[in-house]
Symmetry: C2
Subunit: 337 residues, 2 copies
């Protein structure tokens, strides 16, 4: 094999991206230099945050991926090694050894989990709940976009941390049902009525922590529901990636009046927590107490559509694209599609 | 003497309070019970935060005051003791010994300072800079309403903490000049143009910490100017006490994109810091490196007008009402009026 496929961005999306903003190109595989490896991707991640990168162009189409080393000029990474890297959105990647991270797949844990609940997605939830919001046992949590990758991880992690009530919002009745299945105490479909009213109904006594993935009216509703000294961990704003920012919350001054803390974070600045996070979560994934909630789209040719789908909220759990048939395919738990 | 004067709230103010919302009453002094003292007030504090209390009615017209014990049935508080209490807006107060706090006036420090830069006002600035924003040496600070009690204390305390540039906004050219006098590196009059433009001009490389006393367009300007990992300590919202809340910042999502932290606080929840705060600041007040920036209005009969004035921003520095002639009157530095 001397060529590979890659998705390229051909123009800056105007608002919500469309298929024509991208193209798939066939490129020759460059020869490996010293300390480089050729990776055959198994899973490629499509994430809402990438929409934002497409505006700034800073990171182009970098994306998280997991694959196998199929050619190596790095003694530390022999052929067959499973690795994580950020050169995704392609079938193969030539990477410096320093750019890739070896994945130590635990027994009984599907490989895909290392891009989802055990990857940056789950780590985002973990960082938000622990280091940013500092959720304490018995405290009540609200998660928006709760059926997404970060949200579904957050609800399950919060449960393991001894949270009180865990409440989620999602975009369909099926997702609401899924949230109940994976351990949320209560959930609502934000299409069913004003977010503030639904949250008040499900959490009449308020909440302590809000993990924000949405912004807009969800944030306003959470600010209204937060008890004094409540915290907002703000890890994303799906609603804002493509469009003009939603109206800022009318009740923002309550941050002052109720001694709230609203804190944004980027998971890449908290990678020091990854090892502890994996030690904490792997046993729970292995014994099934944490579900690997994911939507897997088959075929590299469907990658752009999968990305557009994650922006629409088509996914339940983490959205992934399977590039080739993985060795452990049978172990992968596909919840939908 | 068997009667005293007190200001009463006769109705809930509609928007900006007016004189007719209040009345001065003459009331009989009750007899002291065991463990009570009669305090003759020397200084009464008028603070923007009281406007908010007038809405909820929760605290009525409680206010901070300093006075002398003139009658005592508490052995710990003999006649002549200088005390702080929260039963202000009256010429005298009958208080339980447990409700008052003895003021240990340091040599060379004016009594009024214990309601201002050494009182709750200065403590608010100290808590905001240390415990909430965690300002570090070399970091750049922006303070709104900087010529007010909290703001003028904050700029001077930040300087003592090793802050980098200290920038303030105020509501008149005279106040801007005052800010330069007390050690601000730069200041602007928010009437001179859009806050965001003026802040960008004075802090082209951004800021690290914003101490918010205003909200609204000041908050939006600060969010725009804050560097990644910047912090907003939100101790008040003068602009919002009387009127409908101003438009929330259009750029609130930058809290997420720049990993900012916006945290509200109430000084009364951080009184454990008071002793350390006094130890830290008293020497600087005594040697003059920190100015007791205050506006003193003479005469209890002018109290309501002084309160309306502080809401208008008439004051430079902390606004106080002098009820009687204090012993150390000569030491009080009156900056204006």
């Amino acid at each position: 094999m001397s060529t590979f496929l890659a998705v390229r961005q051909v123009r800056r999306p105007s608002g919500t991206p469309v298929a024509d903003d991208f193209t798939v190109v066939t490129e020759p595989l460059p020869a490996l230099a010293d300390e480089q490896v050729l990776v055959e991707n198994v899973y490629v991640s499509v994430d809402p945050y990438m929409r934002q990168l497409m505006n700034t162009g800073e990171a182009g189409l970098e994306g998280r991926a997991i694959g196998r080393v199929v050619e190596s000029r790095s003694p530390q990474l022999p052929v067959g090694t499973t690795v994580f890297h950020r050169r995704g959105w392609s079938t193969h990647a030539v990477a410096d050894a320093a750019e890739v991270r070896r994945v130590h797949q635990a027994d009984g844990v599907p490989l895909s989990a290392y891009l989802g609940v055990l990857g940056g997605t789950g780590l985002t939830a973990f960082v938000g709940l622990t280091r940013i919001a500092r959720l304490e046992p018995g405290e009540d949590l609200f998660v928006s976009a709760a059926a997404g990758g970060v949200g579904s991880a957050a609800g399950q992690i919060a449960r393991l941390m001894g949270a009180g009530r865990v409440i989620g919002s999602a975009g369909s009745a099926a997702k609401v049902a899924h949230l109940r299945e994976i351990g949320f105490d209560a959930a609502f479909d934000h299409h069913d009525g004003p977010v503030a009213e639904q949250l008040t109904r499900l959490a009449p006594d308020g909440i302590d922590v809000y993990l924000d993935n949405v912004g807009g009216d969800h944030l306003a509703a959470a600010i209204a529901a937060l008890r004094p000294h409540g915290r907002v961990a703000w890890s994303g704003a799906i609603a804002q990636y493509s469009s003009a920012p939603p109206a800022a919350p009318h009740n923002l001054a309550d941050v002052m009046f109720k001694s709230l803390r609203v804190e944004g974070f980027l998971v890449r600045e908290h990678l020091d927590l990854r090892e502890r996070f994996e030690r904490f979560l792997v046993p729970h994934v292995r014994n099934g107490s944490v579900r690997v909630s994911e939507t897997v789209v088959d075929g590299f040719e469907n990658l752009v559509e999968a990305f557009l789908g994650v922006l629409r909220g088509d996914n339940t759990g983490k959205m992934l694209v399977r590039v080739t048939r993985p060795v452990d395919q049978a172990e992968v738990s596909v919840l939908s599609q």
